[in-house]
Symmetry: C2
Subunit: 466 residues, 2 copies
């Protein structure tokens, strides 16, 4: 394990009221102490060396005789810290210049700039959390909706890991008995009750396959449910998108320039993230280039879970049947919603005529005016119903991490082989091998089993300072 003392700015980049610089490692306290001059009653004494953990001390951070800033020092003594090591957090004024000066001062004093996620990696290596909990920290920081936040909090609190560890403990008990049999192989004894083992394998299979099955939901909740908006140009696609974007933007209006940095068309509706996929307008044409664009639209329809077909009520295309023949088959097994837009410009009779035109299309339908913000809430309700997300109870754990999903699929394959093996009365050494393989994959999730490249890959996706 790397025993260097590391430092990084842990607060978001840029200028603010305050910023926090985190230092962790063997020398964290002595390094900061050498730069620190306490003010107030105990002025001049550098007493953080003697301070208890979980205390705050006010004073000046000095570069020799020069005051860099008045700061607040938060002290944590290992193992009672986030990383499990001695840790100091310096709260300074949030000037970019000061943040840089302090960082440079710490580096000159012997700290090293932390790699992305290195604080959390140390927490993992010091057994303050397991690997799936560490991964949840990154998910939590990236969470931008209630559902993503819920999943991350649950995973960070370790319920998932406990579940997996219980499964592994059960498997270990059996595999030990089976391996004991092998020592007595000439006597053909069965220490491990095959019926009980079969029952356990069935339980585990049910459990694992339920978890693996939750990945499609978990992934959708984490990365957004794909929604394709199709329709002719000028049907009002952009107006609708902006409307949905802005309504949600209002909620986070006092946070500047944040959501914009993510994919432009990610929209949170009723606590769930949707990934809106803009498409080129579909129309009958002989233009080769334009047809390539339309082919791409078809592909996007196939990738989506929900398709909004926007129809301009004031200008219905003569090719409506042709369009339906292109869209409807591709929307099979997906949710297709016909969105009749611009109803502020047509009378009821016209709407009825329109409805008739689409009577053959098996889809939900809604009448809106994006311009007048009419029925937008109803559309949001309809999208939420179309997403058809299972109610997540506080009991259920949802897998939303591709690495976990892969491991679960492999673990499931192994446990199925165990079940089949028992049925076919295969020998204990083969059974043992499959059980060990299942344990291996479950252990990969929590980090009981880990390869350096897996760790490197996981933590490199963290932000710096966490």
């Amino acid at each position: 394990m790397d025993s260097n003392t590391i430092c990084a700015i842990s607060t978001p980049p840029g200028q603010g009221g305050i910023a926090v610089i985190r230092i962790s490692g063997e020398a964290a306290i002595t390094i900061v102490n050498a730069l620190f001059e306490q003010t107030g009653k105990e002025k001049g004494k550098s007493t953080i060396l003697l301070k208890e953990g979980y205390t705050l001390t006010h004073g000046n951070l000095m570069d020799e005789d020069k005051i860099i800033d008045e700061v607040m020092i938060a002290l944590f003594r290992g193992p009672h810290s986030y990383t499990g090591e001695d840790t100091v957090e310096i709260s300074c004024h949030g000037s970019i210049y000061i943040q840089q000066q302090i960082l440079q001062l710490l580096v000159r004093s012997g700290c090293r700039i932390a790699l992305p996620g290195e604080f959390t990696q140390r927490a993992f290596l010091n057994k303050k959390m397991d690997l799936s909990q560490a991964e949840a920290v990154a998910d939590l920081i990236a969470s931008n909706s209630a559902s993503a936040h819920n999943m991350a909090i649950k995973q960070m609190r370790g319920g998932f890991s406990k579940e997996l560890n219980a499964l592994r403990a059960n498997l270990l008990r059996f595999v030990s008995l089976i391996e004991l049999e092998l020592d007595f192989s000439e006597e053909d004894v069965h220490f491990a009750n095959r019926d009980q083992l079969y029952e356990l394998a069935s339980d585990i299979h049910t459990h694992i396959s339920r978890l693996a099955g939750s990945f499609s939901v978990g992934n959708a909740l984490k990365n957004g449910i794909p929604v394709a908006i199709v329709g002719e140009t000028n049907a009002g696609k952009s107006t609708l998108l902006n409307l949905l974007l802005n309504e949600e933007r209002a909620l986070v209006s006092n946070i500047h320039g944040t959501t914009r940095d993510v994919i432009e068309d990610t929209i949170v509706i009723q606590g769930v993230t949707y990934r809106f996929i803009d498409t080129a307008g579909i129309r009958k044409t002989n233009d080769i280039i334009e047809n390539m664009g339309i082919e791409l639209t078809y592909k996007k329809i196939e990738q989506a879970s929900i398709i909004l077909w926007m129809i301009d009520c004031t200008q219905v295309s003569e090719h409506i049947e042709w369009m339906a023949s292109k869209i409807v088959p591709r929307a099979k097994n997906k949710k297709l919603i016909l969105v009749f837009n611009k109803i502020d410009n047509v009378c009821e009779e016209e709407i009825d005529v329109l409805d008739n035109l689409f009577s053959d299309v098996d889809a939900e339908r809604i009448h809106i005016s994006a311009k007048d913000k009419l029925n937008i809430n109803l559309l949001e309700d309809m999208i939420t119903r179309a997403a058809h997300l299972p109610q997540i109870s506080s009991e259920d754990f949802i897998v939303n991490n591709a690495r976990h999903y892969e491991a679960l699929v492999q673990a499931d394959k192994s446990i199925i082989r165990v079940q089949e093996g028992i049925k076919n009365h295969i020998s204990g050494d083969f059974l043992s091998q499959d059980i060990r393989e299942c344990m291996h994959y479950l252990g990969e999730i929590t980090g009981e089993i880990n390869a350096d490249e897996i760790l490197g890959n996981i933590f490199s996706h963290f932000c710096i300072g966490k």
Copy 2:
């Protein structure tokens, strides 16, 4: 005074490893306590009510039964806090969603979102700092160079205020004696020794006028020394600017997207900020619009302290004398530097010819290649010398705040009237009036004397959360 409990995100906006939400006011501790659930040894007990100040407590922040985040609570009990009130700082995971959820939760629990600078305003109202110190906090956060940082730190630490308060105390002693004389006006006594008063007034005048005189330097250091770059198009102005920008950028490379938000062409060279003013190329033309642009260039030359005249060595204009006749007179009393660019493309003889062409121009000259980064350090040294900043000793205080400068100018006028009054043996009541006026202006700086609109104006320029 507003006794509401206020809250705000104090760390820079956006996503990061951690974020800090600050709550200050009478109910700060009870409000946070009601939302907090301690974990660890004292699990389940909400003990921050009983915690001492300057302590940290780890636990969960709850929205009823739902965990919003695992947080660290820093507790400060008034008057031993930044604002002087009970204050809680919640360190949470730096997800934008979580920051918003906590802020909304606090508002639902009875907090109000803080106005910009409101924490510091409360610190001022609770006499934790005076007004010039409070203003220094905003300057410190905005400081982006060593010199701006030095000035802000010095002002925040209150040396300036102590100086002004000492002057006011001296004046108060004399004005009291003079006003006592007024009670005995029929007896024509002089409790206040006029010679001593004159000496004091002279001292104060020297002092105040030195401070007021430092404003031109202070303002330049704070807002940047204006440097105009003139020359024909394609002389390499942009290449040079980018070069200077990038060299400094490299120093702050691990902070993202910050300097870009400020004026594009502010460049810190050797700890001092320069405001580079781009100008339209100057050439002889009859085009009315183009001539308007050139007129604007002349104005910018007049506003600048330093003028860099960029000359393309490979392509010297035939109008060089005409250009000199336009630039040189406007550069009078300013520093003019001839920057011969692209010397990588010419031989020494050609450079000599060029130098001769400009032999009449009274200016420093330097030969560079912006493309090959040749002699850029020398140019930076030359700019630094041209800025001709007095060495700031740790003794001297530099005024960099326009409000302070205005008050000092007014105070100086009053004290000069006091000096003249004594010389002309004017009566005590007039003297007293002028001394009181001087005291008033000095008191405005530290906030001894303040009007609500001054306060409102000062604190509205703060960032939220400080």
